[in-house]
Structure formats: C-alpha cells, structure tokens
Amino acid sequence: MKFIDKSKDAWHTITGEDGPMVTLTPTPYSLLTITQWRGARSVWPADTPVGVAYDNDADIEDLAEDLPRLSLVALQFPKWVDGRAYSQAHLLRSRYRFKGEVRATGEVLVDMVLLLARTGFDAVALRPDQSIEAAERSLRFFPGHYQGDARDPRPLFARPPGEENSSAEVFVNAGASI
C-alpha cells in the first residue's frame, strides 16, 4: 500500500478560480474530473499519464472503455462509512482488469486501509490527521481471510493447505518495501 504524501505527489488537479477548468492543456500526471476527461480524451496524447477522479455514485461500467488510457483512478469516500467505492475498486480490478493505480481519496481513515487493500486499492491519501504507523499496523493483524479478495481471488477453502497465510505475508512484505 502506497501512502500518498501530498507534498511529493506528482498528480495534480486542474482547477481554475471557478472550479475545474473546462479547456485544458494536457500535462503529465493530470488528475481530471470525469467531465474534464471526456472533454479532453479525444486529444489527450497517449504518452501523457492521466488520471480520473470518479464519483462513488457513478457506474464503473461507464468508465470501462477509458481504462486502458488511464494511469490512475481516484475513488471517493465523501464519508468514510459510505462503502460504495469498495465495490467500484473491486470491479475495476476483478472485472475490468485495471492495472493502473486505484487511489482512495476523501475521508480516508486508518481503519479503512485493510479493506482498501483487499478490494483493490493500492494507494491511499489518508486524511491529514491520520497516523501512517497505525495504518501500517492495521494491515498486519490477520493471518489471512476467509473470502477471496483483490490480492488473491480464491477463498480460504480453495487454497492448498499451508498456503492460508502466504498472501498476507507477501502483501505485508510488499508493503514494507515501498
């Protein structure tokens, strides 16, 4: 799991004085609203990394055709207890095989991080008051899980004996290396 440090983050929104700008010049690592992206996609250069911030009440199905061109999809948690973006992330990874970054934004708290990791998010922009240390600790409690997830789609019962813990270990190690 990548914890976003906003001061070092390459991604930037394109916002004018009156909100998101309608006409824009493609620049690398632009994080666009869906409206901006739909306006710009016909002219957006293939080699200029672009991301989209996608609302949690929008259908992921409507983004499917754009996914091969996106490097980042930023999903929203307007309130942390609104769990719609977990389903969006799951669909991005599992149904649409999205390989880019799936980032959690909005009201993102420490105790969501395990759920985020398991539904397919690989980056989180924690709310500024949250502790990265506590978030990393929250990823390490469980030896494994019963149901399949974004890290391993197989449920516990479909994994060979002895492999129950492997995905968690691999995952924790992967997290440590970032």
């Binding site: 389903s87 420490v110 105790d111 398991r118 502790s131 197989r154 449920p155 516990l156 019962f157």
Partner: protein, 565 residues
C-alpha cells in the same frame, strides 16, 4: 457442532488484538468517539443507557457448554450477573465498562467466540432453526451452509459499510422456525426431484418502519452457487441502496422501488461474476469444502437410536405431562427429543438468564445433551440431544433451575426486546409490559385454554421484539415524552401455525402503559368468546372474524387515553 480450526482460532484472537488497538487509540484520543463508533459496533459494542452493551454472536444459535460457562463468567465478573438472549440467537450484556471491553473480547476468543458483525451496517450474524440437525421435519441440515456463509461474510472487505444492516436467515425444514421471509435474505433449503440440494432465495424482507415480506428471487439455486449469488445481491445493494435516509436504506426499500429491475440487476451481476470476473467461479463451494464443514455436524458420539422410549411414571405429576406437551419436541433419532429450557418466567425479563442459570444450563447440557445447546429465535435455550429415557430426570433438574415453565408457544412465551430500561434507541419500556402480562396470565390452566399464540413486544420501531410478526404485537411509541403502546393483531412469522408471513394490523390509537394488560386480556377474552371450537387457535379466529370485535373490546379498556383524547 463446528469446532474452530487453528486458522479460525488465530483469526478471532487477531480480531481481538485489532479491537484492542482501536480501543487504545480511542482512549489515547487519536481515534475520536465518532470514528470509533462504527468500529466498535462491528465488534458488538453499543453505547447504551447505562453502559456499553455487548452483543456476542452465537452463530446460527449453536453453543457448547464451555462457551455458555464463559458467558456466565462474563456475566459474573464483568457485568451485573445476567445476560439477555435475543431474537437473533445472540446474547447481550448491558453493564460492561468500555475499558474492559478488550479483555472480554480476549476471553471470548479463548472459547472460539466473538462479537464480529453483531452490529453495524454489515452482514450480521446468520440465524437459523434452533432445531437444525435434530428436527423431525428437516429436509436438509442448514448448519454446514450457515457455517460456510458465516466464514464468507466474516470481515468481507467490500461489504463492511453497506447502506444499512443486512440480515440472513436459513431454514432447512418444512416448518419455518427462522422467520426467513422477514430477513434481508431468507434462504430455504430444498431438494429437487433428482434429490439435489438447493436454496429458494428470498430478498428484501424486513421489519422496522416499513414491514415488508421478502420476494422470491430464485426458486432453486444449486447450493454450490450460494456465495456467488449472495455476493451479487449484496453488491447491487451496496451500489444502489439509498444512503440519504437511514429509514429508507434497507434493501427492502430498494427491492420495492426497483421491482423486477432489481431482480434483473442481481441476475446480471451473478452472470457477470461467473463469466467475466478474474477467477469469478472461485467462490463456488467445492464438495471437498462442504464435506470438511459438514463433518463437524455429525451426530455426537454416544447418540444412537434407542429403543428405550419414554416411560411416564404412573405417579408423574400433571406439570410433567404439560412440560412434555409444550417444552419437548420431536427428533430425527428414535428415542431422542429436543427440549426447550424456558427463559420466560415470572420475575425475569423474557430471554434473560443469570450467571447461575447459565451455569446450570451448561450442566444440564453436559449431563443430558452431549454438551450442546441452542439459542432459539423465541429467546429460549434448547437442549438438542436428550434421551427420552432421561426426560423425567431432566424435568426435575430443569424445574429446580427454573427452566421448566411449560409455556412454550403459549401467551407468556413472549418475545421482547430489552426496551427503554436498557436500550438508548427505545421509545418505551418493554420489560414492565411483559412482566405485567406474565403476571396477569399466571394461571397455567388459563394459558392452556388460550392455546398457541405469539405475543411480541418491541420498545421502538426498530422492531427488535418482532412486534410486526406477533399474532399480538405491542409497539412502544413516544408521544410528548411519555410511553404509549400501539397494538397490532394478525402478524405472522412464517411458521406453520401462522400459515404465512405478514405484518399485523394496528387496532387503533396507542394505549397507555397501564391499559396494555387490560387490552391484551380483552383481546384474549374476545377470542375465547368468538372461537368456534376449543381447537380454533387465536390466529385463526382473528383471520376468520376480522379485527372489529377485537377493536371494540380493546377500545373499551381506555381510561387514560379516553380522557386524553
């Protein structure tokens, strides 16, 4: 019953450790009370009127004596000496200080128990028939499926923050003793003509402000597919269920609003999971997994068909005969019976048990029921493996422990929530109403004459006391800061005696608390007057003659409310 694997044990211990971490951050001030709330709820911790309430999961109502003794210890050492068994087959404690909560979670983990998902907007503890695995009318034992569902739903990462709570009930018998049509998902196990096992799947049932009976979404789903199909239902709900108004957030509202489109969406999602998702068939239950889980639910060692049938001593008292009639139930194995230990008696709230009573029940389970018990949806305890030849001895022991009130299925076998005495949500108290009715109908001959009847009491519209499904329902309401009670008649919980599932109908403006026992008595008197035979049950008389005679009798009891209006 299911025995935890090393993985399961490790898992609940780590859940306790995770909870301790959260609690410590809360106590240190880095996790605010508001943000701790959904986390503690998903471990069963509410903040109640006096102290936190802890709701502990009893998966599909199955308990062993060691676990019950641990519950007794929690009652004794951390609470004020009692616990409350609920309509969802769980147990609640009301007086445990929050600072002790992590210790209690660790104690629970040591006996393979937890409070995972007993509250919060997630998939709740799964409920079932309290006679699962022993019922004479069983088609398929639901317990292995319940356990597989329990594991699948435990800490499901996608479905931890649904629009609202989500309850699943499973029945495997001809008689529905789990009120499945009243649940967000109701599952009825069936066998088709080829003898294959499958589920009839209902969706969108629920109580609360808007009582709704579930809609059949699949008549026969092969058992292997159940996790995938439920995933499809819950995903559609998570995406499209309302989040703007908590009173319209249950799946029943979505099912009602969308109708056939909801069913189409679920079927489309189900197909997509299987055909398009990465390893989308991974959650099809394998025969090997089913066999592994099912092997835990074998008949206990030592339980074998026994030709020594019940010998009723010639001098057996009438009260024993009554207990046999009401509290003893038919069984799959010759020479065995299931026995209900009644938690409905004068002087204690419905469903309550003291630490001593829990210890005694655990002893009875060890001595007479292979160490196993069940919690019933009607808030009683059940001993599932009792030899007929032990019944007399068990009756004497149960009587000494105050478990032998022969009132199962009768008027005083009341379902009631804890109500305003404990619950912060309640508008009115339930326990004094239940106590007043229990005292009013203490005469066992009278109770027998009244016969089978479901009386359900909820202290607020959240309907934890299932008032909608009671033949007589009592609902506490708040008007200008005082307690009032709405009475409904004709609710049906789905059991054979009810003959279906339906919400009761309100018989008029609310009554004052002190009028309620008189109203119940007037309603009962009307039934006894109007029934066309002694064998016509209350609910059948209500169905036959309609509500008007009952309304008239009930309204004649108004004293306080007559003056007020």
């Amino acid at each position: 019953m299911y025995a935890y694997t090393d993985f399961d044990k490790h898992f609940v211990r780590q859940r306790a450790a995770q909870y301790r971490d959260q609690l410590e951050r809360n106590l240190a001030g880095t996790l605010t009370d508001d943000e701790f709330r959904p986390l503690r709820l998903q471990n069963g911790w509410y903040i109640q009127r006096h102290a936190p309430m802890l709701r502990i999961a009893v998966p599909y109502g199955e308990l062993n004596s060691t676990q019950l003794r641990a519950l007794a210890r929690i009652a004794r050492e951390y609470d004020r000496g009692y616990g409350h068994f609920t309509t969802r087959q769980n147990i609640q404690f009301n007086w445990i200080p929050l600072v002790k909560s992590a210790d209690v979670m660790e104690l629970l983990a040591s006996v393979d128990m937890h409070g995972i998902q007993t509250s919060g907007n997630c998939i709740r503890n799964i409920t079932s028939d309290c006679f699962a695995g022993v019922a004479a009318d069983e088609i398929v034992d639901p317990r292995p499926y319940c356990e597989i569902l329990r594991q699948w739903s435990t800490l499901h990462p996608e479905f931890a923050f649904l629009p609202r709570k989500f309850k699943i009930a499973v029945s495997g018998a001809h008689e529905d003793r789990a009120a499945i049509a009243w649940h967000d998902i109701g599952l009825q196990l069936l066998k088709n003509d080829a003898g294959e096992v499958g589920f009839k799947v209902l969706v969108g049932g629920g109580m609360g402000r808007t009582p709704v009976i579930g809609t059949v979404i699949n008549e026969f789903l092969p058992w292997q597919q159940i996790l995938v199909f439920i995933e499809a239902i819950v995903r559609v709900y998570n995406r499209y269920g309302r989040r703007d108004n908590m009173y319209k957030a249950r799946i029943k509202i979505l099912v009602k609003a969308e109708g056939q489109r909801f069913i189409d969406d679920v079927n489309e999602e189900y197909k997509n999971i299987l055909e398009r998702d990465l390893d989308g068939s991974a959650h099809i239950i394998t025969q090997a997994e089913f066999n592994r889980v099912e092997s835990h639910f074998k008949v206990p060692t030592g339980v074998v068909a026994d030709e020594n049938r019940l010998q009723i001593p010639s001098d057996a008292p009438a009260s024993f005969q009554r207990w046999l009639e009401r509290n003893v139930h038919s069984h799959q194995i010759a020479g065995y019976r299931a026995v209900t230990l009644s938690l409905k008696r004068t002087g204690q709230a419905p469903g309550d048990a003291t630490d001593q009573q829990m210890e005694l029940a655990a002893n009875l389970a060890d001595r007479y029921s292979s160490g196993e018990l069940r919690v019933s949806h009607d808030q009683n305890l059940v001993l599932p493996w009792v030899k007929e030849s032990d019944l007399f001895a068990l009756w004497e022991a149960a009587r000494a422990a105050s478990f032998a009130t022969p009132n199962i299925g009768l008027l005083t076998d009341i379902i009631a929530c804890p109500g305003g005495d404990f619950c912060a949500l309640a508008n009115a108290r339930s326990i004094p109403i239940a106590a007043a009715i229990t005292e009013r109908f203490e005469d066992i001959d009278e109770l027998y004459d009244i016969g089978n009847i479901d009386l359900h009491i909820s202290g607020c519209i959240n309907s934890c006391g299932h008032h909608h499904s009671g033949h007589i329902g009592v609902l506490g309401v708040d008007k200008d800061g005082s307690e009032w009670y709405q009475i409904t008649l004709g609710g049906l919980d789905g059991s054979a005696i009810s003959g279906g599932s339906a919400p009761g109908k309100v018989i008029g403006p609310s009554f004052a608390a002190d009028e309620v026992p008189d109203v119940i008595e007037a309603v009962i008197d009307t039934y006894r007057l109007e029934r066309n035979a002694a064998s016509e049950r209350f609910i059948d008389t209500v169905k036959r003659i309609g509500l008007d005679p009952f309304k008239t009798a009930a309204n004649a009891q108004r004293r306080t409310t007559a003056k007020a209006e």
